[in-house]
Amino acid sequence: MVDIDFSLLLPELILIGGAFFIIALDLIFRRRVTWLLLPVSVLIVAFAMYVAIDLAGTVASTVMNTFVVDTFSIVMKVIIMLATIFILMLTDGYKPLGNAHQGEFVGLILLASSAMCFMVSAGDMVMLYVAIEFTSIISYILVGYLRRNPLSIEAGIKYFLFGAVSSAIMLFGMSLLYVLTATTNLGGIVEGIMHGAVNPKIVLVSVSLFMVGLAFKMGAVPMHLWVPDVYQGAPTPITAYISVASKTAGVAAFLRIAFWFAPMLDVASGEWVNILSFVSMASMVLGTVIGILQNNLKRLLAYSAISHIGFIIIGVIVGQEVGMIAVVYYMVAYLFMTMGAFAIVIMVADATGGYELNDYVMLSKRKPSLALLMTIFLISLAGIPPTVGFFAKFYVFAAAIKQGYIMLAIVGVLASVVGLFMYARVLKAMYLDKNDEIMKKPFGAIPPPSWAVVGLCLLGTLIFGVYPKPIVEIARYCCNLFGG
């Protein structure tokens, strides 16, 4: 029989149970409890997060090694759940959703979070596949949730088709790995390849196809094409959710697999590193360069997300302790700055009704506080001190240079210079551009939970930008307690 250590699975179980509880609550009590749904769901996620943090320090696996818990996965889960809490709070202020099906909406978000947690902890190819698909399928629904908004539906369909194709390609890679090793366990695959006489190039091809699915989740070139369209069309809280939580889960799974597979890819290491380097450089360059031409804030942030994934992949390429610290730090930084920027995008859109750069004109006059906050988040995204984004990039570059990946560091530095122009356009709109028409429009009220989110993100961005030590310590701790 199989031994199950439920304590390790508890955070995910709480999220799933909470999801169904919320849906049931909504179904049974109908409109009377709509106001309750968000606070209750936030509490549920917070509780799951507490339970997860409680697990920190263990390195264990359960259900016959299909589920791995280590400190790295805990940290990633905490990031995912923090993102979930943030977007639940932002949902409160997001008007287009209305009250329609809020129970289902919130329930699905909780389900997606649990799926991402499974993805982070997957120790088996089948587990990973199921978790990735779970995340994707729920995300397709959430992206297309505003079903009467043509943009949302279009985004949903695009996301769905692109995701389905990439998951099919990933499955082909997985099936090849199975055929090569006769097992689906990730550890078993490495052993099988190491001990069997397999052509390393075929392993390389299989792993590359396998990674296509994760590249899709992360939005890395060449699987980045869905990102701008989906970011633009999705309900904005969901955009933020996909941008942060889903990407974190993808990065976590990617890093875990890259680290586990490293020994078996060593025979083909040059090729593997070159492929990854290309992906990283292309992501950084394309993201920043095309981002410059965007006029829609959500699209701009989408291209910014593409470029950020390039920087993160540098950390994965570098590997070892420094690389891992860089990746973990980057993900934490990314959580705060991206979430903050999206929160402000939601506020501005709710107040002015648009996502275009034109809607940001004279924001410094109409709502100076929002303009200032946006400036700080954009500065952080651009990687300028004293913000958390600066250290994120700094650690990545330092790690790359230390391990001799000079080319990556140079391209990264250049990309971040160009990236500055991209963010500067928003600053220009907020502070310099003139439009007297827009001053006449009233600026709507902003709900307190959104302020709370922005405040927390601001604290994270600034505090860890000045004093990054805690995060670095946690990241090092992650590295020491990395399962597998």
Partner: protein
Amino acid sequence: MIGSINILDILKPELICAIVRVTPTHYLYVAGIVFCIGLMGVMIRRNAIAILMSIELMLNAVNIVLIAGGRAYGPKTYDASSFVIFIIAVAAAEAIVGLALILAAYRHMKDINIDDMSIMKW
């Protein structure tokens, strides 16, 4: 026999054996072909449902690879079969969601041609 070229030389016994004696690799070839047909379908069909069907073809190809691979490692390896069951279940879920999205889109545009869905671009 014409000249020195014997057409029947091509039909070497080993070659015939290789063609006739079915090995897992044959199944892999079939799977590869079906996979690429599915991929082509995704790329060229306008109708969203047709694209969905092409995706199902790709998944079907993966199933063939897995079952053939599992069989090659002996009759008692059931992980491939289990994997296939998961794939089928997930494919079902995917189809449900995909068709729901397509129906929602149809309500809007009265059409489900994918190349009409390009409000968002560059």
